[in-house]
Amino acid sequence: MGFLDTLLGRTKPVQPKLDDLFALPSAAITLEAGSTFKPTGSGSVCFRQVEGRSFSDVQKEVEDLLDMSSGKEGGLPVEVTKDTYGFTWLVSSHMSDQLDALVTDLHAVNSSLVDAGFGPQLLCTLVAFRDDQERRLALIYLYKRGTFYPFAPLDGERRNNALELEIKTTIGDDLKWEQDLTRWFPVWGAPGL
């Protein structure tokens, strides 16, 4: 934000960075090689709903689009849920080996919102993983930063920080990690996790 914008109090909402999302499939392969974590095939996009007709039209369009793409290969229809903070999650489910298709779906949501001018409303995208001990893990992409961070929830709203740091090292340079640990915010009960 420029000096003049600060002085005049006109912050503009930040536009999202979308490209780095496509690093996910190769990172998943690295993760599978270095641990027993596998993608569950489900992922979700979280965004802040804007009031008014214009946004609900766009949201409907996105849902139709995803339903069409999932209908083809026996996939499940897209699920829409609202969390306790008022954010909307679109959950897309695929077969566990179709991570490419999932990422393409997620990207379709992003680009539709961005094209309609609602890019600043995108919060994060989440792709779920599970290992052979049924431990849960999510790789979360922060749109505004263009960075990833791991989130490993335990029962009772605690998180497994050790596992998160271990995953970060396992995947290594395949993903652009969020270096500021204060931004690794938890998403308890996120749909699709």
Partner: protein
Amino acid sequence: MAARTRYAPDRGLTARMTATMFLLGLVFVGFIAAIIGIGAATHASDAAIVLFAIVLGGGFAIGSLFYSDKIALSTARAVEVSPNDGERARYLHGIVDRVCALADMPKPRVAIAPSPIPNAFATGRNADKAVLCVTDSIMNKLEPEELEGVIAHELSHVAHKDVQVMTIASFLAIIAALLIRISFYGELFGGGGRGRGGNNNGGGAYIFFILMAVSIVVYAISFLLIRLLSRYRELAADRSGALLTGQPSALKSALIKVTGDMAKIPTRDLRTAEPLNAFFFAPAMHLSAPGGGKSLSAIFSTHPSLERRLAELDKVQRQLSQGR
């Protein structure tokens, strides 16, 4: 591009804020010119008094800038909380986390103040040192979306560096106020006691009088301009906050709930909240006299009227729902 028009800045507000700051600068320049004029007409010892006031005033301003977070938190008797400090703290942190991620700004420290006044403020000299404080009654009163709107408003203050801007804007008023006081005592004691050799004592008292008159005028004008600037910055924060969350209506209903309640709060509690007024979400002190004093209170208040704020948020709402 669609994205650009949807989040276009409010030109009217920008123009008015620029004009206010320009006037404030003009008063500052005029004040300095007057002081130099007075200094040139008299001997150096009176100019030293002005220098003393500037150094003292600058010290006050820098001190309040650096300790704004500590002063504000202790005045509000607020306690900083971490996400692990119970259900309410976790809920509050959850909202702040999300708003910060949307806005791409560092997360401020979060505090809760025990107070029957539903309110919130953010302070600290920059985004890294910022602290966000809400009262426990505002958490009870507002729905999650409304509280999110309030927090987005407060974080917009942080993003706009309002603490810095208002401190610099107030610098002039602080110096003028100090000079009024100094020249008042100068007039009382300086006239008789300090005469030495051939200096004409009557002239010294005369200079003090002029200095005091100029300072009073400058103080009055800059006070009004600072209040005006503060009101514009509130509108700017409302606007940025509503654009950020995409929910201007939630912010509107929060404003109605909070200001509606504030009017009913007894004065005794309000007086303790007064020093923090400029940083609050809604003003904790109402100047409006029953009956006539409405336009006067509008000039002196740190926050725009509820009607004005709601009207400005209507604009944001129309802007967000416009077609592609």
